[in-house]
């Protein structure tokens, strides 16, 4: 039973260490030359809440979860009901649990998978300081065919500094689990790794977004913590500090968005990161950035909504507010990364666009990418760095909001002599003086729209793959499962095209028309309740006559087989 990839779920209630074991498994897979992905599902508790580490390991790159898990290792059953729906199992899957915690609960049993028992608690008790999760980890590694040396080597790296005893106890548990696993039923096994010695990156989406910001030249960040956006800031705080930038924790999101407007006005590329509730608080001032033409970038790591919603779980339902959440006519940029590593490129590109176009750019990431880790080939370098069109010293008759042909007006940076001006969120004339005159309003509205419409976004507006009369259009984290479904269809000789939109605003009407050329059936895939993406598509593009929509809210991720089966059934 050697598959292309193997998927493993490790679950347990608080303190069981599911997350730690998942992390080690991913790192070990990476060490052994595999690619991998780990997402997590967590309860609301700060400490001691139930948690699931959801992994997929493969010899080739992976950017999506599979349809089901091949192996579920349950350290205990505490509160598993709360996320059982997130743990789909196939009949061939194996559920490994500790007899100590009783029978497999209904919510899991109903998948009809095979099950087996492993006395993890008893085994752990035999090792001084032994922990259940290390027993489970050892068993899981052996079951899926991951070399135990890789796991041991990661343990060494990570527990080494905690002292000999800790390491010895973990090692003993690992080996005990591995040993016990030899007596367990088989599960899907990893193919040999294709390790060629090339560099792998192990990165989370939130780190990637933060790093993309740095690569683009962000030097000033003001923000207010919020799950799941905080880790973007946690990455940026120390790295900015080391690279001559500054991160400041603001009193609230109203302050953070305005602080970055100030930072950017003063000439320094500036960014903030947040999640839905924070973004909502920022919209008034995002409008200010747009009207005053002050470049800023906002990373929104989406979580379940509305309101406080489900802070720890994912959804794509901030699409509406990101695209349409400003009052007045407020053209701006919305970029949606579509893989964990693309969080890096997309953020870097968004900063570049914000700066080049002197407007606000929103990066629409989500919890599923942000808090997941991916082991990938080292990503290529992108050439996008912040670069503004600036005014020359003592530029004659300087007009901050000059009506240039491409709509972009040279911006004077404080310190530049002879070009002082007052940036304004009131409608204004070319000089920046407030004006309520119809002609000034109209020409400035035209200019602010024109600069976005005329700009050349190159090929980055979407990732397009394949061909055929059937196309699937999607964005963000829903792209992974779409991509995989279409690969499977193609592998079976079918034809289908994927259009994953990266640039949501301004809507790329012409590009999309070209991409849809020849498409007869269109499947829209998104993770919202109200078909926000479908409505966005209808609003801006002419769609083929036959459209189906696969739209479902979080936190359940979309699975490749759902897409496959819709396409298969579509006559």
């Amino acid at each position: 039973m050697v598959g292309k990839s193997v998927s493993v779920a490790l679950t347990g209630s608080g303190g069981a260490g599911a997350m730690t074991s998942g992390q080690i498994l991913l790192d070990a897979a990476s060490k052994a030359g595999y690619f991998g992905l780990m997402t997590r599902s967590m309860g609301p508790q700060i400490r001691g809440g139930e948690a699931a580490a959801l992994l997929r390991i493969s010899a080739t790159p992976v950017s999506s979860l599979d349809d089901h898990y091949d192996l579920l290792v349950a350290y205990d059953w505490g509160n598993v009901n709360r996320f059982a729906a997130e743990l789909p199992l196939a009949k061939t899957s194996l559920v490994l649990s500790d007899p100590e915690h009783g029978a497999v609960p209904d919510a899991i049993a109903l998948f009809g998978a095979r099950s087996a028992e492993l006395a993890m608690k008893t085994l752990a008790a035999e090792v001084p300081g032994g922990r259940v999760n290390m027993i489970g980890l050892g068993a899981a590694a052996v079951l899926i065919g991951l070399p135990l040396e890789a796991v041991l080597s990661v343990l060494q790296d990570q527990l080494g500094r905690k002292g000999e005893e800790v390491l010895a106890s973990a090692t003993a548990c690992l080996k005990a689990g591995a040993e016990a696993a030899t007596k367990l039923p088989e599960v899907a096994r990893l193919p040999p790794s294709k390790a060629d010695g090339s560099v792998r990156w192990n990165i989370s989406g939130n780190e990637a977004a933060g790093h993309g910001a740095l690569k683009a030249g962000i030097k000033f960040v003001a923000a207010y913590p919020i799950t799941p956006g905080t880790e973007v800031l946690e990455y940026l705080a120390p790295t900015l500090e080391k690279t001559g930038g500054v991160l400041v924790q603001a009193e609230d999101e109203l302050a953070s968005i305005n602080m970055i407007i100030g930072g950017s006005f003063s000439g320094v590329p500036s960014l903030t990161a947040t999640s839905g509730p924070g973004l909502a608080l920022m919209t008034e001032s995002i409008g200010l950035a747009i009207c005053s033409e002050t470049p800023i970038t906002i990373v929104d790591v989406m979580r379940g909504g509305p309101s406080t919603g489900i802070p720890t779980k994912s959804e794509q339902s901030d699409l509406n507010i990101a695209c349409y959440g400003m009052h007045g006519d407020a053209p701006h940029i919305v970029v949606a990364p579509n893989t964990i590593v693309d969080c890096m490129f997309s953020t870097q590109w968004a900063v570049y666009l914000a700066e080049a176009l002197q407007t606000a750019a929103i990066v629409l990431s989500d919890q599923a990418m942000g808090q997941a880790r991916n082991v990938v080939a080292k990503p290529a370098d992108a050439p996008y760095v912040a670069k503004r069109r600036v005014a020359a010293p003592n530029a004659e008759g300087y007009k901050r909001y000059a009506l240039t042909p491409d709509g972009i007006s040279p911006m004077a940076i404080p310190g530049n002599p002879g070009t002082n001006y007052v940036a304004d969120g009131l409608e204004h004339n070319e000089r920046g003086t407030p004006s309520s005159q119809a002609s000034d309003h109209h020409s400035q509205l035209d200019k602010r729209a024109r600069k976005l419409e005329m700009f050349d976004y190159g090929d980055h507006w979407a990732d397009i793959e394949g061909d055929g009369e059937i196309a699937v259009v999607t964005f963000g984290a829903s792209t992974g499962p779409v991509q995989e479904a279409l690969e499977r269809i193609r592998a079976k000789g079918g034809k289908a095209k994927m259009i994953s939109l990266r640039l949501l605003m301004p809507a790329q009407t012409k590009n999309m028309a070209a991409a849809l050329n020849g498409v007869k059936k269109l499947l829209v895939v998104e993770q919202t309740h109200s078909e926000q993406f479908n409505k966005y598509l209808r609003a801006h593009f002419d769609l083929p006559p036959a459209v189906k929509v696969l739209s479902r809210p979080g936190p359940l991720p979309i699975r490749p087989n759902q897409i496959e089966s819709i396409i298969a059934d579509w006559k």
Partner: protein, 275 residues
């Protein structure tokens, strides 16, 4: 000697015509600001002047420095961003009592506390001028002329200087627009003082609070020297009548400066991800 340093206060005035009503106190505040800037002797391009929304908040456009006329209540946040990103600039912020103490109250609180090196002027007319005369946090509880609170607010007025002190401002002064030279001096001193400097300028709204013309008969110099110790200043301000002018407190907390070094490149950082 540097040519731009010869600028007069006229050189700091723009040619944009103020929207202010004839007789509005804000005209004098504008003169005080430009005078203080002339006295400062810095070139125009090294000064950033930030405001919110309100009659008073229009002031940057009437000066000749880099300015930002932001949204209502957020001047201090923009100003902090400017100063933190560009410590080389001299940063001023200004606005109304509504802008700064009602919708902007949280930023005021945290600006006092954070102590970024900048100077903030509240042009206090005890009313929302721009929106045609509602009560602000500094309005007395028994003022009945607003259509929204026709029987008065019934809420005791904020004393901005006292609040600033409790929140941690490092320099606190009060002036009256009728004494523009004193106000200019206070602004100048506020700029020179490290950390967050707060200057309340009593600036009558002749349209919605014509009775404020009377302020000229009520203001008087604050007695004694400015306190440097917070507890002492608290004590002193506890008995203040709201009309004493001058420097009321001059503390010595070090200004906020977030850590920033230059010891790594972005490429260096990537080692962390590689395996």
């Amino acid at each position: 000697m540097n040519a731009p340093c010869q600028l007069t206060h006229q050189d700091f005035k723009s040619d944009v015509k103020p929207i202010w009503c004839p007789g509005c106190g804000d005209f004098a505040v504008l003169s005080s600001v430009t005078k203080a800037l002339a006295d400062l002797g810095k070139p125009r391009e090294e000064i950033a002047f930030i405001s919110g929304i309100g009659c008073s908040s229009r002031i940057p456009a009437y000066t000749q420095v880099y300015g930002f006329h932001g949204v209502h209540g957020r001047a201090l946040a923009i100003a902090a961003g400017v100063k933190l990103a560009r410590p080389d600039l001299t940063v001023l912020a200004a606005g109304g009592d509504g802008d700064g103490l009602s919708i902007g109250g949280n930023h005021f609180l945290h600006a006092c506390r954070r102590n970024v090196d900048m100077t903030y002027i509240i042009m206090d007319n005890e009313v929302y001028g721009m929106t045609k005369g509602q009560a602000s946090p500094t309005t007395q509880p028994d003022w009945t002329k607003s259509k929204l609170t026709p029987e008065g607010t019934g809420i005791s007025a904020v004393e901005p200087v006292r609040l600033a002190l409790a929140a941690g401002a490092n320099f606190i002064a009060r002036g009256f627009s009728g004494n523009p030279n004193e106000v200019a001096r206070l602004i100048y001193e506020g700029i020179q003082h490290p950390g967050f400097s707060f200057i309340q300028v009593l600036s009558p709204c002749v349209t919605y609070r014509p009775e404020e013309r009377e302020w000229k008969n009520l203001v008087h110099p604050a007695e004694g020297n400015p306190s440097q110790v917070m507890a002492e200043a608290m004590h002193r301000l506890a008995g203040d009548d709201g009309f004493s002018t001058g420097v009321l407190f001059a503390g010595n907390r070090a200004p906020f400066k977030p850590p920033s070094r230059n010891v790594a490149t972005v490429t260096d950082l990537e080692r962390k991800f590689a395996s």
